[in-house]
């Protein structure tokens, strides 16, 4: 197993080199750079040249690429043009806020989706199944900013149950438990919307997985043995139905850190998604490339983790 992991990790190196070349090449091909994107009407050609020289943008692309890679190998992603501080600290400042809501959403949506999926499979074509399917498809097809604004209107403005946006109450100076309570209150609406959106697809996965499993012979055998229905479903069927979901879980890893561009904006949540989007608009290459590479590494790791977990969970699969 450890040999397998090491081999997979080594395989990641050429993949990452490939990714770095592609994203760098794309960034070079996009029209405009940070100097033109800042659209300063007083910018003279001389000043623009000075700035390009300071940022190293005047060097040939190949040289820029190697400088970037060399710095990256030493853990230095460069300084963000916009934020005027190291890219790593920019990411560190914002990414945990995104992680917080993404993580809670992940737990909630998986738990709910697992239960709902299993039940609607068990009672396939029942009234419950039909209602659940309807709701799930409804939620899946609604645009996130739309329900986002709708819940703000009803739960924050009309009912005044939750704050309209942000992560903390402005001007409230509290610490410890009170602070956690304050943040939790601000999290309710964004987490609820994100959960509602992601639950749809997941429920379908669980339902399909479960439907496939409960038609297998061994389930019939278990029932024939006279086992209780609950034991059959949760002990025998559920574990097997979970297997395909493990792949999905691995792929969720970059999503945990990637931020939600649109919902962060709707709820004024101080996450990395908005910052990343702004770096694209402003052609803030160090931040844009740095964060893209960060996500690429997470995606590859996520794949590896799901493969490994698959091996652990399903003894029929042997990793070599």
């Amino acid at each position: 197993m450890s040999q397998y992991i090491i081999r997979r990790l080594l395989q990641m190196i050429p993949t990452l080199i490939g990714i770095s070349i592609i994203v760098f090449a794309i960034s070079q091909m996009v029209p405009g750079d940070y100097i033109t994107a800042s659209q300063n009407p007083n910018m003279t050609a001389e000043r623009a040249d000075q700035l390009r020289a300071i940022y190293g943008l005047d060097k040939p692309p190949a040289q820029q690429y190697f400088v970037w890679v060399k710095n990256m190998l030493t853990g230095n992603l460069g300084d963000s043009f916009q934020h005027k501080m190291p890219v790593t600290s920019v990411i560190n400042t914002y990414v945990w806020n995104s992680f917080l809501i993404a993580f809670v959403t992940l737990i909630l949506s998986w738990t709910i989706a697992a239960f709902v999926g299993v039940f609607s499979a068990q009672f396939q074509y029942s009234f419950f199944d039909k209602v659940v399917t309807l709701i799930v498809f409804l939620l899946m097809s609604l645009p996130s900013f739309f329900i986002g604004l709708l819940v703000i209107k009803y739960f924050a403005l009309d009912l005044k149950l939750f704050p309209t946006g942000g992560m903390t109450t402005a001007g409230l100076k509290v610490s410890g438990f009170e602070q956690i309570k304050d943040i939790a209150k601000h999290m309710v609406l964004p987490v609820a919307v994100m959960t509602a959106l992601s639950i749809g697809g997941l429920t379908r996965y669980f339902r399909t997985g479960m439907l496939e499993v409960i038609r297998q012979d061994y389930i019939r055998t278990a029932r024939a043995k006279g086992l209780k229905e609950r034991t059959v479903i949760f002990k025998h069927a559920f574990r097997n139905a979970l297997l395909p979901a493990i792949t999905l879980l691995g792929l969720e890893l970059p999503g945990l850190f990637g931020g939600a561009m649109i919902l962060e904006r709707v709820f004024a949540w101080p996450g990395i998604g908005q910052v990343y989007l702004a770096s694209l608009n402003m052609r803030d290459y160090p931040l844009m490339l740095g964060f893209t590479m960060f996500l690429a590494v997470l995606t590859l790791l996520g794949n590896l983790i799901s493969d490994v977990l698959y091996g652990v969970a399903d003894p029929r699969i042997r990793l070599k």
Binding site: V30, P31, G32, T36, A37, S38, Q39, N40, P41, N42, M43, T44, A45, E46, R47, Q50, L51, I54, Y55, F81, Q82, H83, K84, M85, T93, Y94, N97, P143, F145, F146, G148, L149, I152, K153, A156, L157, K160, P163, T164, G165, G166, M167, T168, A170, G171, I262, R265, V266, F267, A268, W269, P270, G271, Q274, V275, L277, A278, L280, N281, M282
Partner: protein
Amino acid sequence: MKKRLSLMLVTLMAFGSILAACGGEEAAPADESAVTTPAETGEEATEETPAENAEESGSESAIGLTEATDMSMNPAPALARTDSMIIGTVAPQGVFNPLFHQTAYDFAIDDIIFPSLIKVKEDGTYENDMADKIDISDDNLTYTFHIRDDANFSDGTPVTANDYLFAAKVLMDASYDGQSDPLSWNIVGANEYNEGTSADISGIKVIDDKTVEVTVSDYDAMTQINLGLIPPMSEAYYGANYKQGDVSSIKELNNKPMGAGPYKMTSYSAGQEVDMEANENYYGGAPKVKSLIFKVTTDLTSISTLQSGETDLDNVTVNEDNVEELQASGFLDVDILKNNGYGYVAMNNNNPLFTDVKVRQALTYGLNREEVVVAAYGPYAEVINIPQSDVSWAYTAENIDTYDYDPEKAKQLLEEAGWVEGADGIREKDGKKFEINFSATADNPVIEALIPIMTENYEELGIKLVTETLDFNAIMEKKDRGDYDMFFAAWGLTPDPDTTVYITDGAQNNSGYSNPKVDELYAQGKKELDLEKRKEIYAQAYQLINADAPEILMYQRTNMLAINGRLDGWDISPYKEYQHSLSQVEIAQ
């Protein structure tokens, strides 16, 4: 309810599409002096969202201040803040240093912490701020600034001439990567300091603690402003680890600013809020409201946070629904202010199609600009005829042709220019058909209003309009190559009318316009220091530009501020932004 929802949907779609457009169609920032240049970022481009319907056109009073009508509606959270105010803002980037900041949001906060020697007035001229006297030598090359005796930093240390020199050194440093172009100010010795051949800037002399003398090698009207806007930065605080050629130690303090302004920053949490406290040492008198908080909102939450009383002031996208909603709340003052900028349709003056002034005039007469502007912005924008804001001291309406929509006159001008109608109804000259290729950005509300009207109007003139949709940056590239017919963009306006947009080969001259008389007037205007004479010079320049019609000037739009009626004492105008009033604002009880 149903109607409300559909309106909401439209707003949402507009938002979604703007998000996709990203690039920011406003080609220039809204406010800057040479020192401080906040760039218009992608977020700010969302301000271009127009009114959804334009039925109520022509209501004259749409622009201006509407006072709160019913303060009893004020929600409890706002009333509970008896010694603090909360300002909603788009997230600042955390560059709280006036030498390095870039967005308008960092700029607003820096304005409060770091005053300069001079400050802008309502009409775009400047007055003394931290300096109580400025002496200018007869040859206009030497400027002596006398810093106020009572000017102290928030840590209690006095603001000295050395702190001014220090800020200038950072600006002239070879590694300085802010938005200013300090070497263009012609300070004697600046280049030597930049190149590292001298450890001092010979043109800046510290006479005594409170007096500094700056010598320039060449002057113009901007010199005094450029020099006066260098904000003194505490050398003791910022300069501890500074070495010539490396400004990184100064940038490390970006999130812990310390200046001499009315408020000092007590804490900053990125993307969430900025907490500030009154600076008791402020030379203009300690502010009346003790605590000031900037809370991050987005264009989607700004109205709801105002309504719930979570914020006291915020910028809100101007459109009829938003105005109505804010006014309906009863406790909000709604201030609609002219934006410092204008939208225009650029024509390639070097393209044979547009070299003839009569053709350019005809295209302006032949376009129903009023209809376009109303479709895009409702009553919240006005058609303009000179490239200047009507709140500026340089504005003139004398001898300005208003180019009212007149297709007959347009046709006549085209005939005079030799473009005659062909068999298919399209005008021709020397066997060439009059066909204009318009490069449009996707999802821009102005373009969505403009293209159908323009196509129809020009068809009536016998001109075929072909549109191609491109990314804004791609259009700018085409422009740089001179390979275009027409595109739509917008300029920001500085308080001073000096610009390179209309001078031959100017850095910002997008249209290739060239008129030696205009060049001469702009050069004169830049060199003249007397305001009355400058007014005359710019009026002449604007009259020439108006007659030459190098581009189709479209509109000046507006921005909207909503302020909780419990706060009094504001003095806000398009140039003098809300942050300049904060030290005098009071909470009405």
